[in-house]
Assembly symmetry: C2
């Protein structure tokens, strides 16, 4: 007969798939000799056995839910799913084993299940291979009934405590196991508190508790026909409820979002654990502790202890707990025992631990241990520290930090120069400063975000039900809860800035506004939150990039030793270049001249250049413009001295620098309405209309402008090359690479080299009397450039994939249009798995990049191959590029550290023959 139940002592803690995460940790702690309340695990195999008789029906209904159907279809499917699952019975072979392990538990604890004098009480907890906040969590105090409550009173010598436990159990059992609306219980409880004129739970007298017990039993009777007094019946129902929770819509949704496929977790286990009580007196309590500071990474215990409390009181953030330091002072011996246990777990698990514990009358019990969720800062610092302490290797340290963590650490902060004053102060729950429009409901967050808006989700506190809103929001703000509250944990886990427990804020979720001081903030108003400091600001406050911390610098130095891919930066202005160099970019992979035109006087000149009708008319403006640009180039080259700088010749269609025709039309009509002369404006309007294009993305741009206006390209090259020449005369070593954009035919390259680049080079070298070593290359961003790369490669020193435009061309998607109009729906419908503008489309664009890079190297073995689209800063894409003939990626300056790490991870994982996986 198959074994479905295992005691903590006999099982193998490495088999998480069978025992679930929680179970495995209980087994492990037991094995390590830590004090764990005795108990056993009903395996995930049992759960699957339970579902077996209706497997096909259930799969079909699950399939419907997975397709994200309209509400009416969804509700119908959920109803059917419930009724199918309700018809299932716990197989007797499982139940028989449960009963026999319960008997063993009785032996071990010396208590008896259902005994009126010395009753055994247990907790029943779900636990899948991965943590799933969407599932049922825990039923405590199972085994209580009208008789055993008396025994509990005797055991503890505290009748009030026993009836309080019974009341809680009834409510929990009613809600979780019997699915009764919790509001019925809480309403009754509020009435009782009112009746006895008390505000807080502990002030309710024993009489009130007894009354609550009766009223709760009445509710259960009314709703479900009666409360099972038989503890065995309670246990059976609870086990079934845990199994059932695996198929709750919330759990299914969570699995979709988190991509938890059957190979990762295919059912839940059930943990049955002897109850210990943290709420039997002031020498008791319950706590959560981390083996290191999860906010800063500092190597000290970090956590909270709530005296006279049961586990869920801490997590729910109902009372404010004591800091672990205070616990140390009060219970030094317990602290030492806790410390040693936690550190042992950290060492064995090679990760910072998040440990739940309970103290019952001065005895410490370990209840759960798992890898801690941390801020990015802590994650990075602990990775480096643990590697130095010998707990993990450097390779492990590199895999331990996710690129997103690095990014998070470099998330913007509030600019101190803005001297903005926060209107409220909360806890800095998840780092990063961000501005967004306020919404008060997770569904609104989803809807607004789908319309392309940046929203901040504002809630009194958050629940697992709210998680979909987190994914859509750019940040989260709550007025209640601590650093380990739901909102804080989830925000850190998915890397969204969050401020929690900002108590000064009075939130009216239903009416969709909040008040803080004299401010009233309504849905749609802009606010800014700073997850570094906990500050909340009205309106949009300017932010700045952060600095590298020393541990990150160290980690990145390790990364540099492992990675094959080079990392450069996309930087257009001197200030970007400075960040890029600081963040360790080995050059600039893309400098877009067009951003240099943002200054008004330059834009003015550029417009004159564009509107000029002959080269003669154009020349004086070009002469002035190129001198202005030269100054910028000099600064950039100086900052990047000794490192290559790829300057891309102007790429966008020229009409993008002109006013929009509709703007001019409006001006014309407004002038007309004022009776003013509009001849000049009308001329401008006609000129702009003539230059306008149906599809500017595929229009007269890039090298096409260079071919039709070689004089323009000539002067751009003059600006670049004179800057280099002047620096060279000053003794510096500028390394200039000139990149031609939008090439689709090799003859375009030959032509602009011949007509613009080489003449400029000759003229500059002649007039400055220096020899410049300039590389000339092309951006590969049209499909035809890929298909004819064998010809192109022979005419250039380097190529760089412009994967943004290439993605547009391969999909025939205009990014501007697609991301607003249909990509969200495509993602919803699973027509595409990821936004191809964020993560490289391996099957299409990736295939082309891979083949093109290989062919280019064959045709010209000394050619340098880069990637300068946004994919150059995307970890998943970097992993792909690692496996191709690409030599380096180029990312936006503050993504450079992320790219350095991701490239190293790709190298490490690839050496281990492992595919990319999102690190923890």
């Amino acid at each position: 007969m198959q074994k479905y139940v295992f005691s903590f002592k006999e099982a193998d803690y490495k088999n998480k798939k069978l025992f679930g995460g929680k179970g495995a940790s209980l087994i492990q702690m037991t094995k390590l000799g830590l004090r764990v309340p005795p108990g056993f695990i009903i395996t995930t195999e049992a759960c699957k056995k339970f579902y077996e008789p209706k497997r096909s029906e259930i799969s079909e209904l699950e399939g419907i839910l997975l397709k994200n159907p309209p509400p009416e279809v969804r509700d119908e499917a959920i109803k059917k799913l419930h009724s199918v699952i309700d018809s299932l019975d716990l197989p007797s072979e499982i139940w028989d084993q449960v009963v026999s392990y319960m008997k063993e538990l009785e032996m071990e604890t010396g208590k008896r299940f259902g005994d009126r004098d010395n009753p055994l009480l247990v907790s029943v907890r779900s636990g899948a291979a991965v943590s799933m906040p969407g599932m049922m969590d825990t039923v405590l105090n199972l085994g209580l009934n009208d008789e055993t409550v008396k025994g509990l009173a005797k055991q503890t010598g505290n009748e009030w405590f026993a009836y309080d436990a019974y009341r809680r159990f009834l409510q929990m059992f009613g809600k979780i196991v019997l699915s009764i609306d919790e509001k019925l219980f809480s309403a009754a409880w509020e009435e009782i508190k009112k009746k006895y004129g008390v505000k807080d739970d502990p002030d309710v007298p024993l009489e009130g508790l007894r009354e609550a017990v009766e009223r709760f039993k009445d509710i259960i009777k009314r709703e479900r026909g009666g409360f099972p007094q038989d503890p065995w019946e309670q246990l059976k129902l609870a086990v079934k409820a845990v199994f059932r929770s695996w198929m709750s819509p919330r759990a299914i949704f969570y699995r979709i979002i988190e991509k938890i496929t059957p190979d990762i977790a295919d059912c839940t286990a059930v943990n049955v654990v002897t109850m210990v009580f943290g709420n039997v007196g002031w020498d008791s309590g319950t706590g959560v502790v981390f083996s290191r500071d999860v906010a800063t990474g500092e190597n000290r215990l970090y956590g909270e202890f709530l005296p006279v409390a049961q586990g869920e009181d801490v997590v729910a953030g109902i009372r404010t707990p004591m800091d672990i330091e205070e616990f140390r002072k009060r219970f030094p011996h317990l602290y030492d025992e806790l410390y040693n246990g936690v550190k042992l777990l950290e060492k064995v698990n090679k990760d910072v631990q998040d440990v739940e514990f309970t103290v019952e009358r001065g005895r410490l019990y370990f209840l759960q241990s798992r890898n801690a969720k941390m801020t990015a800062l802590a994650r990075i610092k602990t990775a480096v520290d643990m590697a130095k302490e010998g707990i993990i290797t450097r390779e492990e340290a590199l895999l331990y930090v996710s690129p997103e963590h690095v990014l998070q650490l470099l998330y913007p902060r509030i600019d101190p120069k803005a001297k903005a004053q926060p209107v409220a102060q909360g806890l800095p729950a998840s780092p990063g400063a961000v501005s967004g429009q306020v919404v008060f409901h997770p569904d609104d967050a989803v809807r607004w975000a789908a319309q392309g808006r940046r929203v901040i989700l504002v809630r009194v506190e958050t629940k697992p039900d709210d998680v979909h809103g987190f994914y859509s929001a750019v940040g989260v703000l709550t007025s209640r809860g601590g650093m380990t509250s739901h909102a804080a944990v989830v925000a850190r886990a998915i890397g969204k800035p969050a401020v929690v427990g900002a108590e000064a804020i009075e939130i009216h979720e239903e009416e969709k506004y909040f008040k803080v001081g004299s401010h009233v903030v309504r849905e749609g108003d802009w606010i800014t939150i700073d997850g570094h400091t906990g500050g909340v600001y009205i309106g949009v406050v300017p932010t700045i990039e952060a600095e590298l911390i020393p541990e990150l610098e160290e980690l990145l130095r390790w990364a540099d030793e492992f990675r094959r891919l080079g990392v450069r930066a996309n930087a257009d202005l001197p200030e970007d270049a400075a960040i890029a160099r600081k963040f360790g970019a080995h050059g600039i992979g893309l400098l877009r001249i067009e951003r240099m035109f943002r200054k008004p006087e330059r834009l003015e000149l550029l417009r004159k250049i564009i509107l000029a009708e002959t080269p003669e008319e154009r020349r004086p403006h070009l002469e002035r413009l190129y001198k202005m640009l030269k100054a910028d180039f000099k600064e950039v080259f100086k900052i990047m001295d000794g490192l290559p700088v790829i300057v891309r010749l102007i790429d966008p269609p020229l009409h993008e620098f002109l006013p929009k025709p509709e703007e001019v039309l409006e001006q014309i009509y407004q002038k007309k309405m004022r009776g003013e002369d509009t001849a000049e404006l009308e001329k401008l309007y006609r000129r702009i209309k003539a230059l306008q294009e149906a599809n500017p993305m595929l229009g007269h741009r890039g090298v096409r402008v260079g071919v039709t206006h070689p004089d323009f390209y000539y002067y751009l090259n003059r600006a670049i090359l004179e800057a280099a020449a002047e620096l060279k005369k000053e003794g510096l070593s500028p390394v200039v690479e000139i990149m031609i954009p939008q090439v689709s035919e090799v003859r375009e390259i030959v032509y602009v080299k011949d007509k613009a680049i080489m003449p400029a080079l000759r003229d500059v070298e002649e007039s400055f009397g220096v020899k410049l070593n300039v590389k000339i290359g092309t951006m590969v961003e049209t499909v035809r450039a890929c298909l004819t790369i064998d010809e192109i490669a022979r005419h250039v020193d380097f190529i760089s994939f412009g994967t943004n435009d290439l993605t547009q061309a391969v999909f025939s998607f205009s990014r501007d249009d697609a991301e607003n109009k249909f990509i969200p729906q495509y993602l919803d419908l699973k027509i595409i798995d990821a936004n191809p503008f964020e993560t490289i489309d391996v099957k299409g664009v990736g295939k082309l990049v891979e083949q093109t890079a290989a062919t280019a190297k064959e045709a010209n073995p000394s050619i340098e191959v880069g990637v300068c689209g946004e994919h150059g800063g995307d970890p998943r894409s970097i992993h792909f590029f690692h496996k191709t003939k690409v030599d380096y990626v180029s990312a936006s300056p503050f993504r450079v550290p992320l790219a350095r790490l991701a490239a190293a991870q790709a190298a490490v994982l690839n050496r281990q023959n492992k595919h990319y996986q999102k690190p923890i």
Copy 2:
């Protein structure tokens, strides 16, 4: 020593490359025993030898001219080229051979070169391997001087004639050999005519001719230091002049336009031929004759004879010649001799011949024979006739007609229903009716056409200098000249509609207008010409397509036997389908639903559908619309009964069916200025703006609309399928294929099949109680569809390459923008060889099509592969597709015959292992 000179009797007529076309024909006629004036050829090798000493300098200057430089650069290069060539001498080894062949000629004719009693006179003619109207043509009467003119008078007994010949020779020699401005001679000649009070040349008395001779010699003396009296010196200079003409800018330009590369012709030969005189009396004359009617193809001699005239008098169209039928009546024996000779030449050369002849005192001389230029009609008729007469094979007949000829035959005619009255009547020189804006100068034609305008070039008469204007114009109109005039010959050769000799039109080229009757037509005004009838119309006159002539039908039946590729039509409306079926399409390869929306009531409904905010609001409009569409589908399916019809689900972005935002904005402001309420319009404006896209070509279109609005696609399918079901019930056999556009990911296909197509099919089959056999396929027009075709092919019954969009995606060129903005310049600069939207880009798009078609067939061997872009109607592209796994091409209805022929030619040439070449 190398042999540079050959007599007509000793050379090989097949070596055109060495002897030139004219020379080869003289050799051939001599060999065939036709009477040819004795003469010899200086070979093209001699020409190359002549250039050898300055070859590199000349190549460099030629290179500059080839790049189409700005005028100042061009003029400078031409000047240098002249001075370099002028410095060249005729190598003595060549000259020695010429002298010895002249001696032979003296022996043969019994005359002596430079003899004062019985002088030998010769003509000197250029002649490259291909005919080049851009080059120097002929110097007649060479050998005349102050002494020999007396001998000529003696020989002919006609002093007037001798001095007239001398006068002409001086003028011709002065102009062609010495490059003196011809106006100097003609001005002097006009003065003499005035002095003697005569209007026509023949009325000038002998005294006047003597005076002309003296004045012409004075002009030459003044301009070039004197006229060479020595005939040998004349001959040497003339030979050099012929060689020099190879490098004249006109000749270089002509070689560029006609793509005459060195492997086709690398220098010119020189023909030296004994003079015969057509102008010595009424038993003399000169003529041009074609072996068949070059206008209609009728099998009868066709041509003109001008008595008392020398060759160039006919070509120049100065006097109106007599028809060849009249010649027959007057000179029946000469006619028979001519007829037999011409027909012999036709048989040997397997082509209709264009023969120049001269009658000197009743003796017939053949001067030149070449393949005739014909109207398309004649080309096709003679191809079929010659094949039936056994002169050529059917395969040869197929290659003999160019697809453009077929197209030309199907060119539009003036719609008789328009009852338009021509304002003038000219000769129908080149078929086709066309409307355009009038320009009077070839340079203007080029400039205007570059701006995208359709222009008709209007000239008194045309010269080789004007040819560049022909290429840019859509049609040509002259007021002077006959069917063999320059304008007529060139227009036919390049397939442009032309009306010549419309004498009622009074053209003022300098002042840029023409008068006809009471009309004054200025530059930029629209006219219509009809090359079928010779009619000239004011304004734009409606045109209609032509019918197939029986010979073309026969030729196409032969084509159908040879071709591998199927031919379908792109037809959207019942009237298109009717043409397609008539022209032999084997089905419809592309029916674009969107064209069915052009009717106002449908557009109105469609706009309501687009602006509806919910599916519920949309439904009633969809219900109405689909019933309207069904009627059209029924008609089309009925017309194509039994043949497949591929219906493409709607493709363009929906906002294309809405008014343009600027239009609405203008309306708003105009209402505002009138003080009217604009609330409704402003709402519409906002809605339109919200739907607007930055790059609609890459936007929310095609299958993307089907995915986001499956209800819309559902109703389109209902319309298609109900139409088929109803016809099936009526006993017809509709063959419906549904095509999904713009697919970039196989899951798009799966989704719309699942959500729209299959439900519509089920619903229709159920309600009509019929079983429909519907194929479902996809258009392959995104690059990603190509790259993932292995997946896609397994989900569809057919694919069809949308090469228009695919070309856009591969080049990242928007056709609308590129063809107006930079493609003309790209073609000029030789950055691309052909407009890729007209002829498939073999290296890029073609490569992708080839690979994709092959992969598709591997993944799904029963898949049908078509091409429905415009390239499906382009002969060069068809040749390419023949060599791929493409099963059929689909072309616009009136290109179907062309495609049938081109597909057959591809098969024939491919079997002969020959590459595509533009047929004659």
